[in-house]
């Protein structure tokens, strides 16, 4: 099947009419090129959006309290309540598939009054009391020193990890901040680290203006008792948080005597749901890319099929001669099919290569001109190329099938008579 003679034959046939072969090949070339470019553009958009999420744990639920909207168990409506630190253990124990639960308390904000003082410098910053797990849910680069650890939590150490913008507000440019003290609401905290957040789309400035201190130290220093402002809950990868959030709500509702049907008492933001929406958008985009690409490819394939029909027609007499000399019908069919597959694959591969070249060019331009909003590294992976290759082989077979059949349908004696 893969003998040298067979290939000689294929090349001989395809090269006898160069111009026609090129024109035919162009249809397939163009189809696969469009497919690759569309997929790469979709991927670029997807990469751009994913970069905006910046490694944020997306299977995450943010949960805070509002007021009870229904009276329940003798308690009135419009009642305020707060999560307790015990809720964290309850959720971890009773809900399957939880990876991290980070309770968080908050003090002040960048819009608030000046709450942090160091010497003569002051600033308004958001201060969070956190557990060490938070760094796995909201990734940040520790640019110097360290992040909060469980030693800090257990011993309620008054230490702080500050954003790079906090450092630049409170410290002189050359000044060493690690080991120095800042005063948050008149309580001294020692700076043990600085961070820089990488995600934070559009809000980069403020994202670096936060101060992280151990949750326990926060509660003690600012008299929060066992109250928790909000919880950041991440589920393990194969359990969507969206599916288990009702279980979490039920636990805190029971703990805080909220009416089971009170849907307004708990405020939440389901990042996973939002993220899935975006992901399904990419799915749709990919689908469109495949659809359009394959439609264009299809017209190329039909072109190949057409030309192969003409080639078979032109070679009717030759096929008759070959059969008179003893070539089996299957061998002739094979020949036509291989010509068609060869033509599709060669033109398809050059389409892929050209597409890759164009993508390379786009990436080069993107690199030169700096980051573009929502468009990062358009690319196709090896999987897509493999899929494209399979599509090509199948379509080559498809394109050759009808011509190959028509080649052997005509009887040799009639084929010999045609001129």
């Amino acid at each position: 099947m893969f003998s040298k003679d067979r290939w000689d034959e294929i090349l001989q046939v395809l090269t006898t009419n160069w111009f026609r072969t090129l024109l035919t090949a162009f249809g397939v070339f163009w189809g696969i090129f469009i497919l690759i470019i569309l997929l790469a553009a979709g991927k670029g958009l997807e990469n751009g959006i994913r970069a905006d999420f910046g490694g944020l744990a997306t299977n995450t639920l943010f949960m805070w309290t509002r007021t009870a909207s229904k009276a329940y168990k003798g308690l009135p409506k419009d009642r305020e309540f707060s999560y307790k630190i015990d809720d964290v253990a309850d959720i971890k124990e009773n809900v399957k598939g939880i990876q991290y639960v980070s309770p968080q308390n908050q003090l002040g904000s960048f819009r608030g009054t000046n709450n942090v003082v160091r010497g003569l410098k002051t600033g308004a910053f958001t201060v969070y009391g956190n557990y060490p797990e938070i760094i796995k849910q909201e990734p940040m680069n520790i640019t110097s020193g360290r992040f909060i650890n469980y030693g800090d939590i257990n011993e309620k150490r008054k230490v702080a990890v500050i954003g790079v913008n906090v450092k630049s507000s409170l410290f002189d440019l050359e000044e060493e901040c690690l080991g120095d003290y800042i005063k948050i609401n008149d309580v001294n905290f020692m700076v043990v680290g600085t961070y820089k957040k990488t995600n934070a789309d559009g809000d980069n400035e403020n994202a670096q203006k936060e101060i992280y201190i151990p949750f326990t130290a926060f509660s003690q220093a600012f008299n929060r008792g066992d109250n928790v402002n909000r919880m950041i809950i991440t589920a393990v990868d194969d359990v969507p948080i969206t599916n288990i959030k009702e279980q979490i709500f039920n636990i805190v509702k029971t703990n805080h005597r909220i009416h089971p049907e009170d849907t307004r008492a708990i405020g939440f933001f389901d990042l996973n749901e939002q993220f899935q929406r975006v992901v399904s958008l990419f799915g749709a985009l990919r689908l469109i890319a495949y659809f359009v690409g394959i439609c264009v490819l299809l017209s190329g394939i039909i072109g190949v099929s057409n030309i192969m029909l003409i080639v078979v027609k032109e070679r009717t007499k030759e096929i008759g001669i070959r059969r008179a000399l003893g070539e089996s019908p299957w061998s002739i069919k094979q020949q036509i099919l291989m010509e068609s597959i060869f033509l599709t694959i060669i033109s398809g591969m050059s389409g892929i290569a050209f597409g890759a070249l164009v993508i390379y060019g786009i990436n080069y331009v993107l690199d030169m001109s700096g980051p573009v909003m929502m468009f990062v590294n358009p690319s196709v992976n090896l999987g897509v190329v493999t899929v494209a290759l399979i599509i090509l082989i199948v379509s080559g077979l498809f394109a050759g099938f009808i011509p190959a059949n028509s080649a052997i349908k005509i009887r040799p004696i009639e084929a010999l008579r045609t001129e």
Binding site: K4, D5, Q12, V13, T16, K317, E318, G320, I321, R322, R323, A324, L325, G326, E327, S328, P329, W330, S331, I408, R411, P412, I413, L416
Partner: protein
């Protein structure tokens, strides 16, 4: 070598049926050189096509070298044609994008003969027809007589039991015709069985036996004194 009994063949043309061969009994021994003659419409080409397994018979039996030829599917027929028969056509039927040697080697390719052996054999047969130095030329670069000689070399390359020639000189002038007939006679001298369909009296007399067909039946079957073509060349 060839044994035909009570052969009938008719073609359907719309509602009418055209009875072309009406009971042919015919046999050919090994080493014979037979001319099949007849005017057009006499059924000589149909007979040759059936002998060449390019067409099927309706009735009767056909045995070739002891093998009954019946109910062949296309693959089997192709295989038999390749093994048993060599064809020489009026219009040469060389494949125009292949060189003379490649054309000659074609039947061997279908026999899965190795590439090297094919080339050797092709050259050997081209030498026999006197065209060795033309081996790499395309058919378009050859004269009519040369083309037919390449075709004869091709027909012989597979070393078939029988050579079937359908008007081998029909497209050639008389000098070239005699050259070709001379070649055919020489091949016959080597012991090959050859059937020649022709309507030319002088060509027929260069064979050893003439079978006359008329309206689908054999009207005459006689041995003749062979006229050597060499004397005209």
């Amino acid at each position: 070598m060839i044994e035909i009994k009570n052969l009938h063949k008719s073609y359907k043309m719309g509602k009418n049926s055209l009875h072309v061969l009406k009971g042919i009994d015919f046999s050919v021994e090994e080493g014979e050189l037979v001319a099949i003659m007849g005017s057009s419409g006499s059924g000589k080409s149909t007979l040759l096509n059936i002998l060449g397994m390019l067409d099927e018979l309706d009735e009767g039996t056909y045995t070739l070298d002891g093998v009954p030829i019946k109910n062949l599917n296309e693959t089997k027929a192709a295989n038999y044609r390749n093994k048993f028969l060599g064809f020489i056509f009026q219009s040469f039927n060389l494949i125009n994008y292949k060189s003379a040697a490649e054309n000659v080697a074609l039947p061997l390719y279908y026999q899965r003969v190795s590439r090297k052996e094919r080339q050797e054999k092709a050259l050997k047969y081209l030498e026999q027809v006197g065209l060795k130095q033309w081996a790499t030329h395309l058919p378009s670069e050859l004269s009519g007589g040369q083309k037919q000689r390449v075709a004869i070399a091709r027909a012989m390359a597979a070393e078939p039991k029988v050579l079937l020639a359908d008007e081998p000189t029909g497209a050639l002038d008389s000098t070239t015709s005699y050259e070709v007939m001379d070649l055919i006679q020489k091949i016959n001298d080597q012991g090959n069985t050859i059937l020649v369909v022709t309507h030319e009296e002088d060509i027929a007399h260069m064979c050893k036996r003439i079978v006359h067909l008329k309206d689908g039946v054999i009207v005459e079957d006689k041995k003749v004194e062979q006229v050597r073509a060499a004397q005209y060349v």
